[in-house]
Symmetry: D2
Subunit: 396 residues, 4 copies
């Protein structure tokens, strides 16, 4: 039996290699998909092979991730429950696809991933794999073995396998779009997250004393340049993660509804996501009509829910994007943001499509409707509601 395993290099998936070989006498081929996580990929490969993988693939999917997953998320101002920029949720379907591609190439009998039975990731992996291949066997060791982290460490030690360095306090996942931190002390939502939970962002209090102003340029809803310098997507996002993080920007702490039935306290670092979504949203307010804005804001959370809940492939996602793309055609221009001690403030916006006319808006020189016209508008505007009041009052 040949199994292709989505391999992160961590404790869980390293244990998976050994377990799959023992339990299924399987040949295990590992795949690590580079979606921008901070990782020494050569070392990951070394660890995979030492743990018993017969082959290892490292796949650079950063550009795919940025263009095919992060950019659509920016266009939809995607913040799950108003807070979480979906970093992990967005990467899972891409990782599943890349791993599946290797599985097909090597003629694998099964595909494996290290998700547990209480997380959202199992849903995202399982369903994306099924969406792409209705038949391939899916093995999820960590969902069936019933081992705790401690058990896993012992399991590896007992077999003489090098135990990967693990963050002893937190369960961490990171990629280009954000870093999530769970577990340990964070499980108590009545206390602030301790400083040591953070890695990408300095504490706002330790951030520089001078604010930094950035000019972010968008073209049809997609960020293309910072301070006038065109950048490829990966570089642009990386740049904002570094700059934003150095100013304490992008810390997120909220109570989140997991698909699998319970609330959890989640902490994230996502400087680029925080800056880009804020800027994008602001630019939309300058170029979209009020009706466009309201409809888009109504469907945006549905998009985020689909992605969070493992339904990247659900066709409704594409339909919502079609609506959003139609509007994002006009989201072109530049937004000035000031980042300072943990906060991001939009301070200016420019666009050839800005539906704003100083001539109309200004009190000094602006357009004034005649009294009769204004009254005509107001009378008709309020008439339905006033008629209801009159009828209800009279009838009482």
């Amino acid at each position: 039996m040949r199994v292709v395993l989505a391999y992160s290099g961590g404790l869980d998936t390293t244990t998976c290699i050994v377990w799959l070989k023992e339990k299924y006498q399987a040949e295990v081929i590992t795949v690590t998909v580079d979606v921008g996580q901070e990782e020494d990929f050569e070392d990951v490969e070394r660890r995979a092979l030492k743990a018993g993988a017969s082959q290892h693939y490292t796949i650079d999917a950063k550009e795919d991730f940025a263009r095919g997953y992060i950019f659509p998320a920016i266009k939809m101002n995607a913040l799950y429950e108003g807070s979480y920029p979906l970093s992990t949720a967005l990467a899972r379907p891409l990782i599943a696809e890349k791993v599946l591609r290797v599985a097909k190439k090597v003629g694998a009998d099964a595909i494996a991933h290290g998700s547990t039975s209480k997380g959202n990731d199992q849903v995202r992996f399982d369903l994306t794999i099924r969406a792409l291949d209705p038949d391939i066997k899916i093995i999820t060791p960590a969902r069936s073995w019933g081992m705790t982290r401690k058990d896993e460490i012992e399991y590896l030690r007992a077999r003489g396998i090098e135990v990967p360095n693990v963050n002893k306090k937190y369960s961490v996942d990171d990629n280009l779009w954000g870093r999530s931190i769970e577990g340990g002390e964070l499980d108590d939502p009545s206390h602030p997250p301790p400083e040591e939970a953070f890695k990408w962002t300095v504490s706002p209090e330790k951030a520089p004393d001078n604010p930094l102003t950035l000019e972010i340029e968008f073209s049809q809803g997609i960020p293309v340049a910072i301070n006038g310098e065109k950048m490829d997507p990966v570089k642009l996002i990386n740049t904002l993660n570094i700059i934003g993080g150095s100013h304490g920007v992008g810390r997120i702490d909220h109570i989140e509804n997991r698909l699998v039935g319970f609330k959890s306290r989640e902490v994230y670092e996502a400087p680029a996501a925080t800056i880009l979504i804020k800027a994008h949203e602001d630019l939309e307010k300058a170029v979209l009509t009020p009706r466009e804005l309201r409809i888009k804001r109504m469907v945006e959370p549905i998009w985020s829910d689909l992605v969070y809940n493992g339904l990247w492939f659900e066709p409704a996602r594409r339909a919502i994007e079609a609506l959003g793309d139609e509007m994002n055609r006009w989201v072109t221009g530049s937004v000035g943001v000031r980042i300072y001690k943990g906060s991001v403030t939009v301070i200016s916006r420019k666009s050839p499509y800005m539906i704003y006319s100083q001539n109309i808006a200004s009190y000094d020189v602006g357009w004034y409707p005649s009294e009769e016209k204004a009254i005509g508008f107001i009378e008709i505007w309020g008439m339905h509601s006033l008629s209801a009041l009159r009828v209800r009052r009279n009838a009482l």
Copy 2:
């Protein structure tokens, strides 16, 4: 003819007194409603009488404003277009009601207000008056006289009337829930608002170097105490305005869609609103089910739109509140917020109704569904979508 005029003490409404007397040979009775604006009400009265008012009423409506208008707005997390806490919009129907009450008391023939033909306020005043009294005559001098500010000043001078001190650069309105600043340089959305536009808030850069942590207590969606100290509504909001402002919290700058047909760049200071809505929203996420949250978030913007658009009296508002009140029964508890250099961060939340169980959520000690159950859930969860994919793929 006896006219009751909503009088602010400023240039426009002072001119209204004179104009109403000249144009209609009216007896003008002025009413100033105290909704928390920074004003010397004795001086306002003096100005009214000197300009020719026959009587002046000052009505303290701060408590009414807080309980009857601001608290419902907090319960609905009311931010028009995601940004504006509706400070002026909320006060207008209350002012209209109080002024109308005087009009009835003194047997007035008409009610007057100083709104122009290009603002939202005319809609709010006209329609609330109509909702409460379908018949009384409404006079709006500034909508008909066609004078600029300069014209008004000359008009008063020519008649020997003292010209009120006016903010020469901006058009300002303030009350307990916020301060709005419009006009002048602000009309250009491609530049940040100048420091001099702000009065309630220091620049984040000039804010104290140490963050401040506040514990805000809510009871059924309503803020009742700060740091354990119970406060009446007005004091509580004032306190947060002062503390928040001193830390640079509550500056808002966005492009806003006015009801009357155009976008305008609007700048606000609203420290208390910023803090309270953020805290309230966070607490909701801890105590409401995901379904409750989604429904509430879907109708919240409709509430804000109604209020912004002058339809406080539209019965749909009460219906939305009925939905929100049902949920706010559980929004009881306390939220820790850290304010620092312009930002507000929720760092903790506690509630007897928190739907959060560390025993379930924790990866260490928590609940794990069996593999079979997890797979059962995922299969059924994704089944509709996967079936669609299969059918569509096969048919192509």
Copy 3:
């Protein structure tokens, strides 16, 4: 072990009695809840006891069902996916509650129901029971035994138990609010349902040649009288089922999304539901403001989804009802409906709260705004959109 079983008198639940006794050596107490199904309840009791139940309870819950479940559904115009009046879905939580009450009374160790693993009812029963009692054991024989209908018949015969008469062609469930028919030939959505599937309704072609006009009176959203005759809820609904059915009204045939992951073709007979919801909806259009209507129509399907999906107890349901109740205060009046050969047509509506004024609406005698006012309204109404067009056109 003492088990209380929700007993319908049919094949599945009769088999459950025997199976529970054999498998668990349980004492089985049966409960049949009368929610208006066509049934000889004495015969049901006889069958239960003969099959081995130690005690049997028959509970008349028709009035509870009408007031506590059907009336809220009418107020929300509840049609799942625009078609299904939720007859079975509404009854399940009530049945669960009544059965659980017996379980508590007799000190049962477990509660049992006959749902299979592919229907919606298992969700409704399981979750309502859990909502009311987080701890009681739930046993669902038909979900675990793996018997087909044929197997069940043999199982009973082999044990000398009388096999209940079963509809050999269809799986049927009925109660006061409707009759659902599934299975057999109906599984093919490309053919019309055969006449023999129907029992409550005649074929439209066999209906009387003369239309019948009914005057239905509502008070605060609830039907209270027909043709001027006040009726208690159960009688009123029964009356409409009989009259409507005799005119071929209330046949429903659609493709339905089940919660458990697939589409099924469902056929219903629901004359009273069809008539009452149509009349209620029409009356709402006469008495609610356009804004009230739009908000209500937006949340109504969410209510239906919650009920269909087994979440009667989800607190969001009550919150949606709070919104709807606020509006239904005005849904008072009478609606004339004509029923004829399968169709229901509203032909008149009267209400003290009708927001309709012939003086305003009529072209002959009605109100006309001045040209200037009309133009003022139109200009401002279209201004945002027109400004967008201008900007976008110029920028291209």
Copy 4:
């Protein structure tokens, strides 16, 4: 001055010709746009010229109307407030565009239409014209002259102009997509519309005694054939109007919220619209996922509102259509409908994209999840809600 007038041939627009010439000394060029109304267009031309038009254009826009306006409406199941298929509302922007095109061609100084100040049509005409040409002068005689119908007749007679035959009882507008009847006795919503109001449809009681079954074929959301016969759009719609009408199908009677502030009782005949939308909606239920359906049903009424309210050109319309088009790619197949004595019943549906599997759905041979999987699904499905109940109960 040269004015191009949208000319229907009726009393109002005939009077407009004369009035425009007298009032403005204008040269009046008339344009009649054929959108499928029942009209003798040669006679219309004759009337225009006799009334003083210098030139007359008759433009056949039926195909444009069907493809560019009706088909999008079918795709969006467009029924304003659940009832009105928007026949007139959809035609207005097309008529405005065609008339404007003539105006440009002949170098007109102004464009004129016959709308009054209390209808929706003035909004649709004015705004579409403005959307296409921000500058051309718009003249609306009937909004300014203050004449009643009787006045108009006298006005024409006094000038020796032939008075067009007018429907003395009702105000009627018709086109390919429907016929609307207003005014007269219909103004009283407490009485059914009299038979004489109808022209396209027989009374259901006078319809044939045998039902008729039609097979309607859709391709990507658009109707393309009836009973296997491919038809061009205009013929297909006409055919359904005739067949449907002969069976009494398509009468609509409801209370409608006009944009201009009041409710009116509106009666329509729209056989083709009634049949096609019912069939399209049913087919969607067979081929779309539950998530697609819910999102589409949520935005559909917004589309209808935009069109009804004169905002055909608002860019949000195109964005909603982009969402709908993405889904309509799969709305291909055929729907069997039975029309009988005023009712339309879908009796069968077939599609290569039907997400329906008898193998899964059937109780007999179908798929059954294991008990453990079913329970796993139900537990996780209900867990958020049950946790809330537990917490709230405990805290009380």
